[in-house]
């Protein structure tokens, strides 16, 4: 904690708060402390940004920068210490579990199942939020689930057992379950961690397509610089609990900034399409 932090961006570059934005994070902060009398273990300082339907937002930063904490604030798992996180006008933390599950879907890296189930059963779990307490899935639920599998290109996995498919295939099924929730907000926590490169690109391509077609707001937590540069519409750059910059990839990917955040020498180039590309240099 000894390197001096860059001061946050001047307010002129911060997006003005649009009251009609789907997701609105307004000066939200959080503090982890084992008990009130001790010093906090980790602080996520107040930050703000907004996201629209059809947009992919990347929360970017090295480990322990607060990405997961921010994701938990957005998903409503944590209540912000100050400020608020609004989804279409409702504070995410205050939503009852079923309603929240209808609006926010979370895709995690792994899914540990105690007793194995088939892929279609797994995807059907996404419909739980729409049904009454004691129910059986309806024809509509089944169609939605089938559709979700098709959208991620996993229809052929439908009858396979979850513990017998590859990591990438499992990731797709998990995504399908999230889609079956028909959410407004799609959250992904380090989705590319266990995937090989081809699968990573496939996933991001799917996300871009799904965001456009189904008008999701997609929030991806990651530290993959080039994937973010290529696919994100907006980037929230975090370091050690502080938001350093919010903006388009082109505006956030400044060489000195990135080098300081990721502690590695690199170069930034622009592609023809206006997307930044980062090349890591060796420490010679």
């Amino acid at each position: 904690m000894s390197t001096p932090l860059r001061t946050p961006m001047p307010s002129a570059d911060q997006p003005r708060l649009n009251p009609d934005a789907r997701l609105s994070v307004e000066q939200a902060s959080y503090v982890y402390a084992p008990n009130p009398s001790q010093a906090p273990l980790f602080t996520l300082e107040a930050l703000s940004f907004q996201a629209k339907p059809g947009e992919i937002v990347a929360i970017l930063g090295p480990n322990a920068s607060g990405k997961s904490t921010l994701l938990k604030l957005i998903s409503g798992a944590l209540e912000p210490l100050s400020g608020r996180v609004f989804l279409s006008g409702f504070a995410t933390h205050a939503l009852p579990p079923k309603i929240r599950a209808q609006r926010i879907a979370l895709v995690q890296q792994e899914s540990r199942l105690l007793f194995p189930s088939r892929a279609w059963e797994f995807v059907l779990q996404g419909r739980h939020a729409y049904n009454r307490r004691m129910h059986f899935e309806s024809e509509e639920d089944v169609n939605i689930a089938r559709n979700a599998l098709a959208q991620v290109g996993a229809t052929h996995l439908s009858d396979r057992w979850m513990d017998q498919i590859s990591g990438g295939e499992k990731q797709r099924v998990i995504l399908a379950r999230a889609l079956a929730q028909q959410p407004l907000l799609l959250l992904l926590d380090e989705p590319t961690l266990h995937l090989d490169i081809g699968a990573q690109v496939d996933l991001l391509d799917s996300l871009r397509h799904l965001a456009a077609v189904n008008r999701y707001t997609v929030i991806v937590v990651t530290h993959e610089l080039n994937l973010v540069g290529e696919y994100a519409d907006q980037v929230v750059l975090l370091q050690k609990g502080k938001c350093l910059r919010v903006g388009s990839p082109a505006s956030v990917y400044q060489r000195e900034l990135l080098e300081q955040v990721f502690q590695a020498p690199l170069t930034v180039e622009m592609t023809v399409a206006g997307r930044p590309r980062v090349t890591l240099l060796g420490k010679t």
């Binding site: 998903s75 798992a77 599950a101 879907a105 979370l106 899914s111 059963e121 996404g126 059986f136 899935e137």
Partner: protein, 346 residues
């Protein structure tokens, strides 16, 4: 893709109910004394038609007063233990969990033994005398349930791992108390306690108790069933379940309390009959899958069938003597458990 439907559920339950019925009829026929079921049926029909007023004394008392209540008790106990076992396996996310892992049965045993010791000091009228041991057992179980809950919750919610730890520790502690108490018991009390600890359906409980336990178990099982689809999701992990719309703290409390009460009821009338709560859910999962909407009812039937069969074996194999039901379930259960284990590993 074939999701579970009510029709499939009812069909499977009907098949199991039919099997249970057949098993019950066979169990009524078997026993230390020969009875003619045809004669019984004929007399029953006659009474129902109003042609005569009583069942022949040759077998009426044996079948109706001795065997039938015992079989009904076996059904209630078997169903309760299986549903409780399946629930604890889901709640604790542990396939090795059984109804006794959280110490409920040990608490009930302590309560029962203390009640036995107390019984000798008081001389009660017959109606109450028969109720003291089950009541003591239930009280012991209830105290244990509350104690383990207090041990097992953090930040206001039940935490599965802490709960399991708390339960296992409590169980060890209570077992030590039981050993101590047994060493101080004399003669008749010791015999009574041993019977109770081994698990036995041979003591005919008073009718009132049978009704109470039956209805109470039904209510508790119903409460668990309302969370069946939540339990399916809970198996994936509490964070995922929360994000899929499950109110995890509420479900945990409901399942914990209801499953513990089911166990307490079963144990207070029959002692600790082992392996049923552990293995019947696994067998039903093998047959019908892990969806709790199907698993819970089929486990109830499966447990009832298993305990009726085990009890029938227990009381006929060395007739006129009996071996304890717990011994039969252990002898059959252990090899089956090994089979399940190998299946999982392969």
């Amino acid at each position: 893709m074939r999701p579970l439907t009510l029709g499939r559920l009812l069909l499977r339950c009907s098949v199991l109910a039919l099997i249970l019925f057949v098993v019950v009829v066979i169990a009524l026929k078997l026993g230390a004394v020969q009875v003619s079921l045809y004669g019984l049926g004929r007399d029953l029909v006659r009474v129902l038609l109003g042609q005569s007023s009583a069942i022949s004394s040759d077998y009426g008392m044996i079948v109706v007063d001795i065997r039938l209540p015992r079989i009904l008790l076996a059904i209630v106990v078997g169903a309760s233990l299986s549903v409780a076992g399946a629930s604890f396996q889901a709640l604790l996310r542990n396939p090795l969990a059984d109804p006794y892992v959280l110490g409920v049965s040990s608490g009930a045993a302590v309560g029962a033994i203390l009640a036995l010791m107390l019984e000798n000091q008081l001389s009660l009228s017959p109606e109450f005398a028969g109720l003291i041991t089950p009541f003591g057992a239930f009280l012991g179980a209830a105290i244990t349930i509350s104690g383990v809950y207090l041990l097992g919750h953090r930040e206001g919610q039940i935490d599965s791992n802490t709960l399991l730890l708390g339960g296992v520790i409590t169980m060890s502690f209570l077992q030590a108390i039981i050993t101590f108490l047994m060493s101080t018991l004399a003669g008749g009390n010791l015999r009574g306690a041993s019977f109770w600890l081994m698990g036995s359906l041979s003591t005919l409980p008073p009718r009132s108790l049978l009704y109470l336990v039956g209805i109470g178990s039904l209510v508790a099982a119903g409460a668990i069933y309302t969370t069946a689809s939540d339990l399916n999701l809970l198996l994936a992990g509490e964070r995922e379940a929360t994000h899929l719309g499950v109110d995890v703290p509420r479900v945990r409390v409901v399942v914990y309390v209801a499953a513990s009460i089911l166990t307490a009821f079963a144990v207070s009338v029959s002692g600790s009959i082992g392996y049923v709560g552990l293995l019947v859910p696994h067998a039903m999962r093998l047959l019908f899958g892990s969806d709790h909407r199907m698993l819970l009812p089929t486990s109830a039937f499966g447990g009832a069938i298993a305990v009726v069969i085990a009890d029938t074996i227990a009381r006929t194999i060395v007739a006129p003597s009996e071996i304890s039901v717990g011994a039969v379930t252990a002898l059959v259960g252990a090899p089956f458990f090994i089979y399940l284990l190998r299946r999982r590993l392969s």
